[in-house]
């Protein structure tokens, strides 16, 4: 047995996103290429399998998105064979969905995105007393805001940095002129980052209660595999539900007293980013959190719809099962479609690798040819952005009072107009505002669950159509959810009880897609155009915009000068 001291990582990366940005002579981005460099073949793995098992494979696609893939998968099968899940199962799914969304958003903000705006090294020079004053202004009801607390935090941070374990904070551009926060705001944000890390370990216990285990909770075609009985010792009883209630209250505190106040405080120093990173201006979501069954989008807490060209006066209807509303092109991707096909609906989807790119390691991509392992999905021919901003805008434009209250409240506090939403700052803010809605809905869904249980309804699964013999010989289904980073769809085709075809269109495919046949850019590419860069060797500005989408990919950014020379290679976290 070899015993080695390591040089290479014990690491694992889900996929790889590469962004190449071309700058003009005044260091503004004038062209961008977004390329996903890993091929995922879940479709190939699922062909021929039992549709009732698909969720367990889909759950393994991504480490963070386990629950959303499982949910989209069971819904696709239920849609295909005609199962309506019982009300209690629907509520439990909603609770698990909202829990994951809140946890993912908070971690994205503090752990992945905040360091694009917060200078950790600057925090070391903060005055703890002044930080305490600032924190008490920003979050007056949060208990941990004393001078001593911030002194301790600074000491912990200093010790960590001095121990040579900077690691967590190594991959950034401390001291870059694009960082605008005073040292005290930086220290406050770092303290809250530590609080968020501690808390996220707690919230996810909700998944363990309902899903039996985490990180791979159990799902079931037809409902949920858990048994709930308030009085029983052998089921999810009132004691377990009390734990869920307590975790929801903690989540509310974290979102309402740390996340949203920090977000607005930090945003107030970066209002120039309300005019950067606009991108497509077109948005789409499938909606989620059903109140009356998955077949009734009119009663979703997250409404379904699309907005084109920043027109908030009209929310367009979306039907992902309609033959040609959603089509995927592969003209700029490393795939081949059957002869004569330029675009396919996911039900007809085809995944045949056909690599024509340069031999790795390469210096740059061929901007005139195929340049990505991601396909190019389009809605009614339009490139659209998916994610929190899309959901908040569709809710807002649909006239929903709950959406209007949080959006208008934040715009008022920042003193910016609604057009500020179409930006990198807007995208980042939308995630926080959505979390605010989501924690409130978590409480509502919990209350609905208790009410149903008290009324004697504890049916968590409909098993009448469990046996494939009860299914149509040939059927198709669409399963969807709103994953934290956007609309997620699974399309299934079942023949003789087995999977004949299975296609996933994930949110990052919508956002990071390459250009389409008309040469129109995807959301990432489009959002980078016009971005000013203070120092092209340290492209923190590109990171800000790409991170604002919360990519479900690791990525490397390559920045090119006017002569095509590579200026920097940056790993994006």
């Amino acid at each position: 047995m070899a015993t080695r001291v390591v040089v290479d990582p014990v690491t694992r990366i889900e996929g790889h996103l590469r962004v190449e940005a071309m700058l003009d002579s005044d260091n503004k981005v004038h062209e961008a290429l977004s390329s996903g460099t890993m091929w995922r073949g879940i479709e190939v793995i699922l062909k021929g399998r039992d549709p009732r098992d698909a969720w367990a494979f889909a759950e393994r696609i991504c480490g963070v998105c386990t629950t959303v893939h499982a949910l989209a998968s069971v819904r696709s099968v239920e849609n295909a064979v005609g199962i309506t899940v019982p009300k209690v199962a629907e509520i439990v799914r909603n609770i698990m969905f909202l829990t994951q969304m809140v946890q993912d958003h908070v971690i994205h903000f503090y752990h992945l995105h905040a360091l694009d705006w917060v200078d950790v090294v600057s925090a070391l020079s903060a005055d703890p007393a002044a930080t305490a004053t600032l924190a008490q202004q920003v979050s007056p009801h949060w208990p941990k805001s004393s001078e001593g607390y911030f002194r301790d935090t600074a000491a912990t941070l200093k010790k960590f940095v001095e121990s040579g374990q900077l690691g967590l904070f190594a991959n950034a551009y401390w001291g870059h002129p694009a960082y605008k926060l005073p040292p005290e705001a930086n220290l406050m944000a770092v303290a809250h980052y530590l609080e968020a890390l501690k808390w996220q370990k707690e919230l996810i216990k909700i998944h363990t209660v309902f899903g039996g285990k985490n990180p791979h909770p159990n799902y079931l075609v037809g409902g949920m595999p858990c048994s709930i009985d308030l009085q029983s010792d052998n089921a999810i009883n009132i004691e377990r539900l009390e734990l869920v209630r307590a975790k929801i209250l903690e989540a509310r505190d974290i979102v309402e007293q740390l996340y949203v106040p920090d977000l607005l405080a930090i945003a107030s120093f970066y209002k120039d980013w309300a005019a950067i990173g606009e991108g497509l201006g077109s948005y789409m979501c499938y909606g989620d959190v059903p109140q009356n069954g998955i077949g009734d989008p009119a009663h979703f807490r997250f409404p379904r719809g699309a907005i084109l060209h920043k027109n908030l006066g009209e929310v367009l209807p979306v039907d992902p099962t309609h033959g040609d509303e959603i089509l995927e092109e592969v003209g700029r991707s490393w795939y081949r479609y059957p002869e004569g096909k330029a675009a396919l609906h996911p039900w007809e989807g085809h995944t045949e690798a056909h690599y024509t790119g340069p031999k790795p390691p390469y210096e740059h991509l061929d901007e005139n040819g195929a340049y990505s392992w991601l396909k190019t999905p389009r809605w009614k021919g339009n490139p659209v952005e998916v994610g929190p901003l899309a959901r908040m805008l569709v809710g807002y434009a649909s006239g929903r009072a709950d959406f209007k209250a949080v959006v208008d409240g934040a715009l008022g506090k920042l003193g910016v107009p609604a057009t500020a939403l179409f930006s990198t700052l807007g995208r980042t803010a939308a995630r926080g505002l959505e979390s605010q809605l989501a924690v409130g809905w978590l409480q509502d869904e919990y209350d609905r669950l208790i009410e149903a249980l008290k009324g004697g309804d504890n049916n968590t699964a409909d098993t009448i159509r469990w046996e494939p013999a009860t299914w149509p010989k040939d059927c198709k289904g669409f399963g969807f959810t709103e994953a934290p980073r956007g609309a997620l769809g699974h399309w299934i085709h079942i023949q003789d009880g087995k999977i004949a075809n299975y296609q996933c269109v994930v949110p990052t495919t919508w956002n990071a897609s390459p250009k389409d046949a008309q040469g129109r850019r995807g959301a990432y590419e489009s959002a980078l155009i016009g971005t000013p860069m203070a120092d092209p060797q340290k492209p923190v500005e590109i990171l800000r915009t790409i991170h604002s989408f919360d990519p479900c990919l690791a990525c490397a950014s390559h920045v090119y000068g006017p002569d095509g020379r590579e200026l920097a290679v940056v790993e994006i976290g």
Binding site: M1, A2, T3, R4, V5, V6, V7, D8, P9, V10, T11, R12, I13, E14, G15, W39, I42, V44, I45, F57, R60, C62, G63, V64, C65, T66, D104, I107, H111, L112, T156, F160, Q165, G167, L168, A170, N171, A172, L194, L197, Q200, K201, E202, I204, K205, T208, V209, K213, P215, H216, R240, L243, P551, C552, L553, A554, C555, E571, I572, G573
Partner: protein, 168 residues
């Protein structure tokens, strides 16, 4: 299975891996082998899949942790690796929250003061991590050796751990 309350078992065996990427699933395969070999209330087995810092809850409060994973060090595929100081080697700040990154998980635990005193890694050099289910022949052949090695490490961790062995 992750507990939701009470104090955690002193020893954790945590596997990383994506079962859909051939040899990337090594850790999960090893977990099954080690789990079958041992039944002791002082150890908890967790299939971490491809999660990163979200596994922080699993690490907190442990005395010793054995990570099972694919380990790529440039050796011949199927080589069994035993790493005693993984924090020194793994690149910490992750590229994404979406890949389990043992280094990031360990560094985050260290920042929070949750890092167990003893952390070791037992893994196998992968041959192929393309999309697909099942291990390559070279790696599959090394699994029994690796399971034996992991079981020995676990036994040593348990011998040093607090608490008594339950009656069988």
């Amino acid at each position: 299975m992750t507990k939701t309350d009470g104090s955690p078992a002193p020893v954790l065996v945590l596997a990383f891996g994506n079962l859909l990427l051939e040899d990337d699933g090594i850790g999960i395969e090893l977990l099954r082998g080690v789990e079958a070999a041992g039944d002791d209330a002082r150890v908890e087995f967790v299939d971490g899949g491809t999660q990163g810092i979200a596994l922080g809850a699993a690490l907190a409060g442990r005395e010793a942790v054995l990570l099972l994973d694919a380990v790529r060090l440039g050796a011949a595929p199927g080589t069994v690796h035993h790493l005693r100081e993984p924090l020194r080697c793994a690149p910490p700040r992750g590229d994404s929250a979406h890949g389990a990154n043992a280094g990031e998980l360990l560094a985050t635990a260290a920042l929070l003061g949750d890092l167990p005193a003893r952390v070791e890694v037992l893994g196998i050099e992968p041959a192929s991590t393309r999309t697909g289910i099942g291990l390559s022949p070279q790696v599959a052949a090394a699994v029994p050796t690796a399971v034996r090695a992991a079981t020995e490490i676990l036994a040593a961790m348990l011998a040093a751990a607090s608490g008594t062995t339950p009656c069988r």
